[in-house]
Protein backbone atom coordinates (compact mmCIF):
# COMPACT_ATOMS: atom_id res chain seq x y z
CA UNK A 1 0.00 0.00 0.00
CA UNK A 2 2.69 2.41 0.94
CA UNK A 3 4.30 2.23 -2.49
CA UNK A 4 1.10 2.95 -4.39
CA UNK A 5 -0.31 5.75 -2.25
CA UNK A 6 -0.07 9.31 -3.51
CA UNK A 7 1.29 10.57 -0.23
CA UNK A 8 3.66 13.39 -1.14
CA UNK A 9 4.43 14.66 2.33
CA UNK A 10 7.93 14.15 3.63
CA UNK A 11 6.69 11.69 6.23
CA UNK A 12 5.07 9.55 3.59
CA UNK A 13 8.19 9.73 1.53
CA UNK A 14 10.37 8.66 4.43
CA UNK A 15 8.01 5.80 5.14
CA UNK A 16 8.25 4.61 1.55
CA UNK A 17 12.02 4.70 1.48
CA UNK A 18 12.16 3.00 4.85
CA UNK A 19 9.91 0.10 3.89
CA UNK A 20 11.64 -0.41 0.56
CA UNK A 21 15.01 -0.50 2.24
CA UNK A 22 13.99 -2.94 4.95
CA UNK A 23 12.24 -5.27 2.52
CA UNK A 24 15.24 -5.70 0.27
CA UNK A 25 18.10 -5.94 2.71
CA UNK A 26 16.55 -7.88 5.57
CA UNK A 27 16.12 -11.66 5.79
CA UNK A 28 16.40 -12.35 2.05
CA UNK A 29 19.86 -10.96 1.83
CA UNK A 30 21.17 -13.01 4.76
CA UNK A 31 19.58 -16.14 3.27
CA UNK A 32 21.26 -15.59 -0.09
CA UNK A 33 24.64 -15.22 1.61
CA UNK A 34 24.25 -18.42 3.64
CA UNK A 35 23.12 -20.46 0.61
CA UNK A 36 25.90 -18.99 -1.50
CA UNK A 37 28.63 -20.00 0.97
CA UNK A 38 27.07 -23.41 1.60
CA UNK A 39 26.98 -24.25 -2.12
CA UNK A 40 30.60 -23.19 -2.51
CA UNK A 41 31.73 -25.39 0.42
CA UNK A 42 29.72 -28.44 -0.74
CA UNK A 43 30.91 -28.20 -4.34
CA UNK A 44 34.52 -27.92 -3.19
CA UNK A 45 34.17 -30.94 -0.88
CA UNK A 46 32.53 -33.06 -3.61
CA UNK A 47 35.07 -32.11 -6.27
CA UNK A 48 38.00 -32.74 -3.90
CA UNK A 49 36.55 -36.13 -2.84
CA UNK A 50 35.39 -37.61 -6.16
CA UNK A 51 37.35 -35.93 -8.97
CA UNK A 52 40.57 -37.82 -8.30
CA UNK A 53 42.63 -34.64 -8.08
CA UNK A 54 45.50 -35.42 -5.65
CA UNK A 55 45.09 -33.75 -2.26
CA UNK A 56 48.50 -32.18 -2.77
CA UNK A 57 46.83 -29.92 -5.33
CA UNK A 58 43.30 -29.72 -3.97
CA UNK A 59 42.74 -30.79 -0.37
CA UNK A 60 39.21 -31.38 0.92
CA UNK A 61 37.68 -28.35 2.55
CA UNK A 62 36.98 -30.40 5.67
CA UNK A 63 40.70 -31.17 5.90
CA UNK A 64 41.47 -27.48 5.51
CA UNK A 65 39.04 -26.54 8.27
CA UNK A 66 40.32 -29.20 10.64
CA UNK A 67 43.90 -28.01 10.14
CA UNK A 68 43.05 -24.79 11.99
CA UNK A 69 42.59 -26.50 15.42
CA UNK A 70 45.59 -28.66 14.48
CA UNK A 71 47.77 -25.55 14.12
CA UNK A 72 46.43 -24.32 17.41
CA UNK A 73 47.39 -27.60 19.04
CA UNK A 74 50.91 -27.22 17.65
CA UNK A 75 51.01 -23.82 19.32
CA UNK A 76 51.82 -21.89 16.15
CA UNK A 77 48.43 -20.37 15.35
CA UNK A 78 47.56 -17.70 17.91
CA UNK A 79 51.07 -16.38 18.37
CA UNK A 80 51.65 -15.88 14.65
CA UNK A 81 48.17 -14.55 14.12
CA UNK A 82 48.78 -12.01 16.85
CA UNK A 83 52.06 -10.91 15.23
CA UNK A 84 50.38 -10.46 11.86
CA UNK A 85 47.36 -8.61 13.18
CA UNK A 86 49.54 -6.37 15.32
CA UNK A 87 51.87 -5.56 12.43
CA UNK A 88 48.94 -4.95 10.15
CA UNK A 89 47.19 -2.50 12.44
CA UNK A 90 50.34 -0.61 13.37
CA UNK A 91 51.28 -0.29 9.68
CA UNK A 92 47.72 0.71 8.86
CA UNK A 93 47.72 3.35 11.58
CA UNK A 94 51.01 4.79 10.34
CA UNK A 95 49.66 4.89 6.77
CA UNK A 96 46.44 6.60 7.85
CA UNK A 97 48.10 9.09 10.19
CA UNK A 98 50.43 10.25 7.42
CA UNK A 99 48.16 9.65 4.43
CA UNK A 100 44.98 11.35 5.61
CA UNK A 101 46.41 14.80 6.45
CA UNK A 102 48.48 14.58 3.26
CA UNK A 103 45.32 13.87 1.24
CA UNK A 104 43.47 16.83 2.80
CA UNK A 105 46.42 19.15 2.21
CA UNK A 106 46.88 18.07 -1.41
CA UNK A 107 43.14 18.15 -2.07
CA UNK A 108 42.64 21.68 -0.79
CA UNK A 109 45.87 23.44 -1.81
CA UNK A 110 46.44 23.64 -5.57
CA UNK A 111 50.16 24.23 -5.26
CA UNK A 112 50.67 21.09 -3.17
CA UNK A 113 48.55 19.17 -5.65
CA UNK A 114 50.85 20.18 -8.50
CA UNK A 115 53.99 19.39 -6.55
CA UNK A 116 53.11 16.26 -4.58
CA UNK A 117 50.41 14.29 -6.35
CA UNK A 118 52.72 12.90 -9.09
CA UNK A 119 54.82 11.25 -6.37
CA UNK A 120 51.74 9.91 -4.69
CA UNK A 121 50.47 8.38 -7.93
CA UNK A 122 53.95 6.97 -8.60
CA UNK A 123 53.99 5.33 -5.17
CA UNK A 124 50.48 4.05 -5.83
CA UNK A 125 51.42 2.42 -9.13
CA UNK A 126 54.81 0.87 -8.22
CA UNK A 127 54.39 -2.81 -7.28
CA UNK A 128 55.38 -3.25 -3.63
CA UNK A 129 57.45 -6.30 -4.46
CA UNK A 130 59.86 -3.96 -6.27
CA UNK A 131 59.99 -1.57 -3.32
CA UNK A 132 60.71 -4.36 -0.84
CA UNK A 133 64.49 -4.63 -1.48
CA UNK A 134 64.75 -0.86 -1.06
CA UNK A 135 62.78 -0.90 2.16
CA UNK A 136 64.98 -3.71 3.49
CA UNK A 137 68.01 -1.64 2.56
CA UNK A 138 66.71 1.48 4.29
CA UNK A 139 65.04 0.02 7.34
CA UNK A 140 66.98 -3.20 7.77
CA UNK A 141 65.79 -6.82 7.82
CA UNK A 142 63.56 -6.52 10.87
CA UNK A 143 60.00 -6.04 11.97
CA UNK A 144 60.04 -2.34 11.15
CA UNK A 145 60.55 -3.25 7.49
CA UNK A 146 57.24 -5.13 7.58
CA UNK A 147 55.47 -2.19 9.20
CA UNK A 148 56.96 0.08 6.56
CA UNK A 149 55.73 -2.15 3.74
CA UNK A 150 52.19 -2.14 5.17
CA UNK A 151 52.29 1.61 5.67
CA UNK A 152 53.47 2.42 2.14
CA UNK A 153 50.80 0.07 0.81
CA UNK A 154 48.02 1.77 2.74
CA UNK A 155 49.13 5.38 2.39
CA UNK A 156 48.85 6.03 -1.37
CA UNK A 157 45.62 4.04 -1.85
CA UNK A 158 43.91 5.99 0.90
CA UNK A 159 45.43 9.31 -0.09
CA UNK A 160 44.58 9.28 -3.81
CA UNK A 161 40.92 8.53 -3.11
CA UNK A 162 40.52 11.05 -0.30
CA UNK A 163 42.32 13.85 -2.15
CA UNK A 164 39.96 13.42 -5.08
CA UNK A 165 37.08 13.47 -2.62
CA UNK A 166 38.29 16.78 -1.20
CA UNK A 167 38.53 18.24 -4.70
CA UNK A 168 34.95 17.29 -5.52
CA UNK A 169 33.48 18.99 -2.43
CA UNK A 170 30.25 20.70 -3.47
CA UNK A 171 31.02 24.31 -4.47
CA UNK A 172 27.68 25.72 -3.31
CA UNK A 173 28.11 24.18 0.11
CA UNK A 174 31.52 25.82 0.47
CA UNK A 175 30.09 29.10 -0.81
CA UNK A 176 27.30 28.87 1.74
CA UNK A 177 29.73 28.12 4.55
CA UNK A 178 31.86 31.12 3.65
CA UNK A 179 28.91 33.49 3.39
CA UNK A 180 27.63 32.38 6.78
CA UNK A 181 31.00 33.30 8.19
CA UNK A 182 32.80 29.96 8.45
CA UNK A 183 36.54 30.30 8.98
CA UNK A 184 38.84 28.08 6.93
CA UNK A 185 39.02 25.66 9.84
CA UNK A 186 35.21 25.61 10.15
CA UNK A 187 34.87 25.04 6.40
CA UNK A 188 37.22 22.10 6.77
CA UNK A 189 35.46 20.71 9.83
CA UNK A 190 31.84 21.29 8.81
CA UNK A 191 31.92 20.84 5.04
CA UNK A 192 35.03 19.08 3.76
CA UNK A 193 35.38 16.41 6.44
CA UNK A 194 31.73 15.23 6.47
CA UNK A 195 31.52 15.19 2.69
CA UNK A 196 34.70 13.12 2.40
CA UNK A 197 33.66 10.41 4.88
CA UNK A 198 32.45 8.10 2.08
CA UNK A 199 35.79 8.62 0.33
CA UNK A 200 37.67 7.78 3.53
CA UNK A 201 35.62 4.57 3.70
CA UNK A 202 36.49 3.57 0.14
CA UNK A 203 40.12 4.64 0.50
CA UNK A 204 40.44 2.74 3.77
CA UNK A 205 39.04 -0.44 2.23
CA UNK A 206 41.36 -0.18 -0.77
CA UNK A 207 44.24 0.65 1.53
CA UNK A 208 43.46 -2.30 3.83
CA UNK A 209 43.45 -4.78 0.98
CA UNK A 210 46.72 -3.49 -0.39
CA UNK A 211 48.08 -3.32 3.14
CA UNK A 212 47.26 -7.00 3.67
CA UNK A 213 49.14 -7.89 0.51
CA UNK A 214 52.00 -5.77 1.78
CA UNK A 215 51.86 -7.63 5.10
CA UNK A 216 51.96 -10.95 3.34
CA UNK A 217 54.89 -9.93 1.11
CA UNK A 218 56.76 -8.73 4.18
CA UNK A 219 56.15 -12.00 6.01
CA UNK A 220 57.22 -14.13 3.04
CA UNK A 221 60.55 -12.34 2.78
CA UNK A 222 61.24 -11.88 6.47
CA UNK A 223 60.09 -15.24 7.82
CA UNK A 224 60.47 -15.05 11.53
CA UNK A 225 56.84 -15.06 12.49
CA UNK A 226 53.36 -14.09 11.32
CA UNK A 227 50.91 -16.16 9.34
CA UNK A 228 52.98 -15.59 6.18
CA UNK A 229 55.76 -17.59 7.81
CA UNK A 230 53.34 -20.51 8.40
CA UNK A 231 52.52 -20.49 4.70
CA UNK A 232 56.21 -20.37 3.78
CA UNK A 233 56.99 -23.39 6.01
CA UNK A 234 53.90 -25.33 4.97
CA UNK A 235 54.44 -24.89 1.25
CA UNK A 236 58.02 -26.14 1.26
CA UNK A 237 56.77 -29.21 3.16
CA UNK A 238 53.92 -29.75 0.66
CA UNK A 239 51.26 -29.31 3.34
CA UNK A 240 48.74 -27.86 0.95
CA UNK A 241 45.82 -28.08 3.39
CA UNK A 242 47.73 -25.86 5.78
CA UNK A 243 48.48 -23.34 3.04
CA UNK A 244 44.77 -23.22 2.25
CA UNK A 245 43.86 -23.00 5.94
CA UNK A 246 46.05 -19.95 6.45
CA UNK A 247 44.70 -18.50 3.22
CA UNK A 248 41.19 -18.98 4.59
CA UNK A 249 42.08 -17.13 7.78
CA UNK A 250 43.64 -14.43 5.68
CA UNK A 251 40.47 -14.01 3.62
CA UNK A 252 38.27 -14.03 6.73
CA UNK A 253 40.42 -11.32 8.29
CA UNK A 254 40.24 -9.20 5.13
CA UNK A 255 36.48 -9.62 4.79
CA UNK A 256 35.81 -8.80 8.44
CA UNK A 257 37.94 -5.66 8.10
CA UNK A 258 35.88 -4.58 5.12
CA UNK A 259 32.64 -5.35 6.93
CA UNK A 260 33.68 -3.35 9.99
CA UNK A 261 34.69 -0.27 7.97
CA UNK A 262 31.52 -0.56 5.90
CA UNK A 263 29.41 -0.71 9.06
CA UNK A 264 31.15 2.31 10.60
CA UNK A 265 30.77 4.24 7.36
CA UNK A 266 27.08 3.42 7.10
CA UNK A 267 26.57 4.57 10.67
CA UNK A 268 28.37 7.84 10.01
CA UNK A 269 26.52 8.54 6.76
CA UNK A 270 22.95 7.67 7.65
CA UNK A 271 21.93 10.93 5.98
CA UNK A 272 22.69 9.46 2.56
CA UNK A 273 20.04 7.99 0.32
CA UNK A 274 19.99 4.20 0.56
CA UNK A 275 22.13 2.79 -2.23
CA UNK A 276 20.95 0.48 -5.04
CA UNK A 277 20.59 -2.64 -2.91
Amino acid sequence: MSTTSLDTTAEGFIGRIGSRFKGRSGLNFALITVVNVAVFVIVWELVATYSGIPKLFLPKISAIASDIPQMNAEGILLLNLWFSVKNFFIGLAVGVVIGLPLAYAIGSIKFLDRVLSPYLWALYSIPRIILLPLVLLWVGINNNARLAIVAISVLPSLAVVVMDGVKTTDATMLRAARIFGASRWQQFLHVIVPSTIPFIGTGLRMGMLRGLIGLYIGELFITQNGIGSIIAYASVRFRTARVFAVLLLFVLFAVSNLAVTRAIETRLTRWRAPSGL
Binding site: A10, F180, V191, P194, W271
Partner: protein
Amino acid sequence: MTEQMERHTEKSADSFGDQRLQESSLGGVNGKDHALIQVHGLTVEYERALGKNEHIVALKNFSLDVREGEFVTVLGPSGCGKSTLLNVISGLVFPKEGDVRVDGKPVTGPSPKWAMVFQDYGLMPWRTVEKNVRFGLEMQKKLDEEAEERVRHYIRMVGLEGFEDAYPRELSGGMRQRVGLARALAIEPEILLMDEPFAAVDLITRELMQDEISRIIAKTGKTVIFVTHSVDEAIILGDRLVVVSARPGRAKCAIEIDLPKPRSEHSLRSSPEYVSLRDRVWSELSAEVQLGRGG
Protein backbone atom coordinates in the same frame (compact mmCIF):
# COMPACT_ATOMS: atom_id res chain seq x y z
CA MET B 1 25.66 64.40 -7.92
CA THR B 2 29.27 63.78 -8.84
CA GLU B 3 31.17 60.76 -7.68
CA GLN B 4 33.55 62.85 -5.60
CA MET B 5 30.80 64.51 -3.67
CA GLU B 6 29.20 61.19 -2.98
CA ARG B 7 32.45 59.79 -1.66
CA HIS B 8 32.89 62.83 0.46
CA THR B 9 29.54 62.55 2.18
CA GLU B 10 30.14 58.87 2.82
CA LYS B 11 33.48 59.57 4.42
CA SER B 12 32.12 62.09 6.83
CA ALA B 13 29.25 59.76 7.57
CA ASP B 14 31.60 56.92 8.48
CA SER B 15 32.78 58.57 11.65
CA PHE B 16 29.25 59.37 12.76
CA GLY B 17 27.59 56.06 12.04
CA ASP B 18 24.70 56.50 14.47
CA GLN B 19 23.81 59.97 13.35
CA ARG B 20 23.81 58.88 9.77
CA LEU B 21 21.46 56.07 10.54
CA GLN B 22 19.01 58.53 12.06
CA GLU B 23 19.42 60.81 9.12
CA SER B 24 18.66 58.03 6.68
CA SER B 25 15.62 56.89 8.58
CA LEU B 26 14.34 60.46 8.47
CA GLY B 27 14.77 60.43 4.73
CA GLY B 28 18.36 61.54 4.24
CA VAL B 29 19.90 63.04 1.14
CA ASN B 30 17.84 64.21 -1.81
CA GLY B 31 14.66 63.58 0.12
CA LYS B 32 15.15 59.85 -0.58
CA ASP B 33 16.21 57.18 1.86
CA HIS B 34 19.96 56.89 1.82
CA ALA B 35 21.13 53.83 -0.07
CA LEU B 36 21.93 50.92 2.24
CA ILE B 37 23.84 49.10 -0.48
CA GLN B 38 25.94 51.11 -2.90
CA VAL B 39 27.43 49.20 -5.79
CA HIS B 40 29.73 51.46 -7.67
CA GLY B 41 31.41 50.92 -11.06
CA LEU B 42 32.05 47.21 -10.62
CA THR B 43 34.23 45.45 -13.15
CA VAL B 44 34.83 41.79 -12.47
CA GLU B 45 36.99 39.44 -14.52
CA TYR B 46 37.47 35.71 -14.35
CA GLU B 47 40.34 33.67 -15.65
CA ARG B 48 38.99 31.32 -18.28
CA ALA B 49 41.20 28.46 -17.14
CA LEU B 50 43.96 28.11 -14.61
CA GLY B 51 47.27 29.45 -15.91
CA LYS B 52 45.84 30.69 -19.20
CA ASN B 53 45.89 34.41 -19.68
CA GLU B 54 42.37 34.68 -21.09
CA HIS B 55 39.79 36.60 -19.12
CA ILE B 56 36.04 36.65 -19.11
CA VAL B 57 34.61 40.00 -18.18
CA ALA B 58 31.58 39.10 -16.08
CA LEU B 59 30.56 42.62 -15.06
CA LYS B 60 31.58 45.91 -16.60
CA ASN B 61 31.09 49.22 -14.82
CA PHE B 62 28.03 47.97 -12.94
CA SER B 63 26.37 50.38 -10.54
CA LEU B 64 23.33 49.95 -8.36
CA ASP B 65 22.00 51.60 -5.21
CA VAL B 66 19.55 49.81 -2.98
CA ARG B 67 17.58 51.65 -0.31
CA GLU B 68 16.93 50.21 3.10
CA GLY B 69 13.88 47.97 3.04
CA GLU B 70 13.77 47.87 -0.73
CA PHE B 71 13.17 44.68 -2.70
CA VAL B 72 15.24 44.88 -5.88
CA THR B 73 14.91 42.18 -8.49
CA VAL B 74 17.80 41.73 -10.89
CA LEU B 75 16.77 40.27 -14.22
CA GLY B 76 19.09 39.22 -17.02
CA PRO B 77 19.92 36.60 -19.61
CA SER B 78 21.85 33.58 -18.37
CA GLY B 79 25.59 34.14 -18.08
CA CYS B 80 25.24 37.90 -17.70
CA GLY B 81 27.01 37.96 -14.35
CA LYS B 82 24.00 38.13 -12.01
CA SER B 83 25.47 35.56 -9.64
CA THR B 84 28.83 37.30 -9.83
CA LEU B 85 27.12 40.45 -8.64
CA LEU B 86 25.86 38.66 -5.52
CA ASN B 87 29.28 37.10 -4.96
CA VAL B 88 30.86 40.55 -4.96
CA ILE B 89 28.20 42.12 -2.74
CA SER B 90 28.57 39.28 -0.24
CA GLY B 91 32.34 39.70 -0.15
CA LEU B 92 33.30 36.35 -1.68
CA VAL B 93 34.74 37.84 -4.86
CA PHE B 94 36.71 41.03 -5.16
CA PRO B 95 36.20 43.27 -8.17
CA LYS B 96 38.96 44.46 -10.47
CA GLU B 97 37.51 47.95 -10.33
CA GLY B 98 34.80 49.66 -8.34
CA ASP B 99 33.50 48.86 -4.87
CA VAL B 100 30.54 47.83 -2.80
CA ARG B 101 29.53 49.68 0.33
CA VAL B 102 26.99 48.61 2.89
CA ASP B 103 25.98 51.28 5.41
CA GLY B 104 28.73 53.37 3.84
CA LYS B 105 31.46 50.86 4.75
CA PRO B 106 33.35 49.00 2.03
CA VAL B 107 32.65 45.26 1.91
CA THR B 108 35.81 43.34 2.79
CA GLY B 109 34.36 39.90 3.28
CA PRO B 110 31.31 38.00 4.51
CA SER B 111 29.40 39.58 7.38
CA PRO B 112 26.44 38.70 9.58
CA LYS B 113 24.70 41.73 8.06
CA TRP B 114 23.80 39.71 5.00
CA ALA B 115 22.89 36.14 4.12
CA MET B 116 22.28 34.29 0.90
CA VAL B 117 19.76 31.83 -0.48
CA PHE B 118 21.11 29.63 -3.28
CA GLN B 119 19.61 28.19 -6.43
CA ASP B 120 20.80 24.68 -5.59
CA TYR B 121 20.07 25.17 -1.87
CA GLY B 122 23.63 24.66 -0.58
CA LEU B 123 22.27 22.64 2.35
CA MET B 124 24.51 20.20 4.18
CA PRO B 125 23.00 16.78 3.43
CA TRP B 126 24.32 15.35 6.72
CA ARG B 127 22.50 17.95 8.78
CA THR B 128 18.86 17.71 9.69
CA VAL B 129 16.53 20.61 8.91
CA GLU B 130 17.06 22.03 12.39
CA LYS B 131 20.85 21.75 12.22
CA ASN B 132 20.92 23.28 8.74
CA VAL B 133 18.91 26.25 9.99
CA ARG B 134 21.30 26.56 12.92
CA PHE B 135 24.36 26.48 10.60
CA GLY B 136 24.95 30.23 10.30
CA LEU B 137 24.50 30.81 14.03
CA GLU B 138 26.89 27.97 14.74
CA MET B 139 29.57 29.38 12.41
CA GLN B 140 29.18 32.76 14.11
CA LYS B 141 29.41 31.05 17.51
CA LYS B 142 26.02 32.24 18.68
CA LEU B 143 24.59 29.23 20.40
CA ASP B 144 22.71 30.49 23.40
CA GLU B 145 19.08 29.97 24.34
CA GLU B 146 18.09 32.95 22.21
CA ALA B 147 19.69 31.35 19.16
CA GLU B 148 17.74 28.14 19.76
CA GLU B 149 14.56 30.17 19.99
CA ARG B 150 15.40 31.87 16.70
CA VAL B 151 15.95 28.53 14.99
CA ARG B 152 12.53 27.35 16.14
CA HIS B 153 10.96 30.69 15.21
CA TYR B 154 12.19 30.67 11.61
CA ILE B 155 11.45 27.00 11.07
CA ARG B 156 7.89 27.88 12.07
CA MET B 157 7.89 30.96 9.83
CA VAL B 158 8.76 28.99 6.70
CA GLY B 159 6.25 26.30 7.61
CA LEU B 160 8.59 23.41 8.38
CA GLU B 161 7.34 22.56 11.84
CA GLY B 162 7.38 18.83 12.30
CA PHE B 163 10.25 18.34 9.87
CA GLU B 164 13.03 19.43 12.26
CA ASP B 165 14.67 16.01 12.21
CA ALA B 166 14.29 15.27 8.51
CA TYR B 167 17.34 15.19 6.26
CA PRO B 168 17.39 17.29 3.06
CA ARG B 169 17.16 14.20 0.83
CA GLU B 170 13.78 13.43 2.40
CA LEU B 171 12.36 16.82 1.39
CA SER B 172 10.96 18.14 -1.88
CA GLY B 173 12.74 20.95 -3.73
CA GLY B 174 10.36 23.57 -2.38
CA MET B 175 10.84 22.37 1.18
CA ARG B 176 14.62 22.34 0.79
CA GLN B 177 14.49 25.95 -0.31
CA ARG B 178 12.40 26.78 2.77
CA VAL B 179 15.25 25.35 4.83
CA GLY B 180 17.69 27.53 2.86
CA LEU B 181 15.49 30.55 3.55
CA ALA B 182 15.16 29.78 7.27
CA ARG B 183 18.92 29.31 7.52
CA ALA B 184 19.43 32.77 6.00
CA LEU B 185 16.75 34.40 8.18
CA ALA B 186 18.05 32.78 11.35
CA ILE B 187 21.15 34.96 11.48
CA GLU B 188 18.76 37.94 11.26
CA PRO B 189 20.62 39.79 8.52
CA GLU B 190 19.68 43.26 7.31
CA ILE B 191 20.14 42.14 3.73
CA LEU B 192 18.95 39.01 2.02
CA LEU B 193 20.72 38.04 -1.20
CA MET B 194 18.77 35.56 -3.28
CA ASP B 195 20.43 33.80 -6.20
CA GLU B 196 17.64 32.40 -8.42
CA PRO B 197 16.21 30.62 -5.39
CA PHE B 198 13.19 29.16 -7.16
CA ALA B 199 14.84 28.19 -10.46
CA ALA B 200 15.03 24.54 -9.44
CA VAL B 201 11.46 24.07 -8.16
CA ASP B 202 8.34 23.30 -10.18
CA LEU B 203 5.99 26.05 -11.35
CA ILE B 204 3.22 25.51 -8.82
CA THR B 205 5.63 25.41 -5.91
CA ARG B 206 7.32 28.43 -7.37
CA GLU B 207 4.15 30.54 -7.28
CA LEU B 208 3.44 29.45 -3.72
CA MET B 209 6.99 30.26 -2.68
CA GLN B 210 6.75 33.69 -4.31
CA ASP B 211 3.66 34.49 -2.24
CA GLU B 212 5.39 33.27 0.83
CA ILE B 213 8.62 35.19 0.28
CA SER B 214 6.58 38.39 -0.21
CA ARG B 215 4.76 37.72 3.04
CA ILE B 216 7.95 36.96 4.97
CA ILE B 217 9.83 39.97 3.59
CA ALA B 218 6.87 42.24 4.34
CA LYS B 219 6.84 40.90 7.89
CA THR B 220 10.58 41.09 8.54
CA GLY B 221 11.36 44.27 6.56
CA LYS B 222 14.58 42.98 5.02
CA THR B 223 16.41 44.66 2.19
CA VAL B 224 16.50 42.16 -0.66
CA ILE B 225 18.45 41.69 -3.86
CA PHE B 226 16.74 38.93 -5.76
CA VAL B 227 18.37 37.58 -8.91
CA THR B 228 16.16 35.79 -11.41
CA HIS B 229 15.73 35.08 -15.09
CA SER B 230 11.94 35.04 -14.88
CA VAL B 231 10.22 38.25 -15.99
CA ASP B 232 7.05 37.48 -14.03
CA GLU B 233 8.94 36.70 -10.86
CA ALA B 234 10.96 39.91 -11.19
CA ILE B 235 7.80 42.03 -11.55
CA ILE B 236 5.73 40.29 -8.89
CA LEU B 237 8.37 40.42 -6.17
CA GLY B 238 10.22 43.65 -6.82
CA ASP B 239 9.78 47.23 -5.67
CA ARG B 240 12.26 47.95 -8.41
CA LEU B 241 13.47 45.84 -11.28
CA VAL B 242 16.93 46.10 -12.78
CA VAL B 243 17.58 44.64 -16.21
CA VAL B 244 21.17 43.48 -16.70
CA SER B 245 22.71 43.54 -20.17
CA ALA B 246 24.28 40.54 -21.87
CA ARG B 247 27.86 39.84 -20.84
CA PRO B 248 29.73 41.88 -19.80
CA GLY B 249 26.85 42.74 -17.50
CA ARG B 250 25.88 46.30 -16.71
CA ALA B 251 22.70 47.69 -15.23
CA LYS B 252 20.82 48.46 -18.44
CA CYS B 253 17.73 50.06 -16.94
CA ALA B 254 15.81 50.21 -13.70
CA ILE B 255 12.03 50.17 -13.55
CA GLU B 256 10.04 51.16 -10.46
CA ILE B 257 7.15 48.79 -9.95
CA ASP B 258 4.19 50.59 -8.42
CA LEU B 259 1.70 47.75 -8.53
CA PRO B 260 -0.12 47.45 -5.19
CA LYS B 261 1.04 44.81 -2.74
CA PRO B 262 0.48 42.03 -1.88
CA ARG B 263 0.69 40.83 -5.45
CA SER B 264 0.11 37.40 -6.79
CA GLU B 265 0.85 36.14 -10.26
CA HIS B 266 -2.65 34.76 -10.48
CA SER B 267 -4.51 38.01 -9.88
CA LEU B 268 -2.04 40.21 -11.75
CA ARG B 269 -2.08 38.39 -15.07
CA SER B 270 -5.17 40.18 -16.29
CA SER B 271 -4.34 43.69 -15.04
CA PRO B 272 -3.48 46.09 -17.90
CA GLU B 273 -0.63 47.77 -15.95
CA TYR B 274 0.96 44.40 -15.44
CA VAL B 275 0.65 43.46 -19.10
CA SER B 276 2.22 46.69 -20.35
CA LEU B 277 4.98 46.49 -17.73
CA ARG B 278 5.67 42.93 -18.75
CA ASP B 279 5.87 43.93 -22.43
CA ARG B 280 8.30 46.68 -21.64
CA VAL B 281 10.54 44.44 -19.54
CA TRP B 282 10.39 41.75 -22.19
CA SER B 283 11.53 44.04 -24.96
CA GLU B 284 14.44 45.27 -22.84
CA LEU B 285 15.39 41.73 -21.98
CA SER B 286 14.94 40.06 -25.34
CA ALA B 287 17.32 42.51 -26.99
CA GLU B 288 19.94 41.36 -24.47
CA VAL B 289 19.16 37.69 -24.91
CA GLN B 290 19.79 38.05 -28.63
CA LEU B 291 23.00 39.96 -28.01
CA GLY B 292 24.07 37.27 -25.60
CA ARG B 293 23.59 34.65 -28.30
CA GLY B 294 25.84 36.68 -30.55
CA GLY B 295 22.91 37.59 -32.82
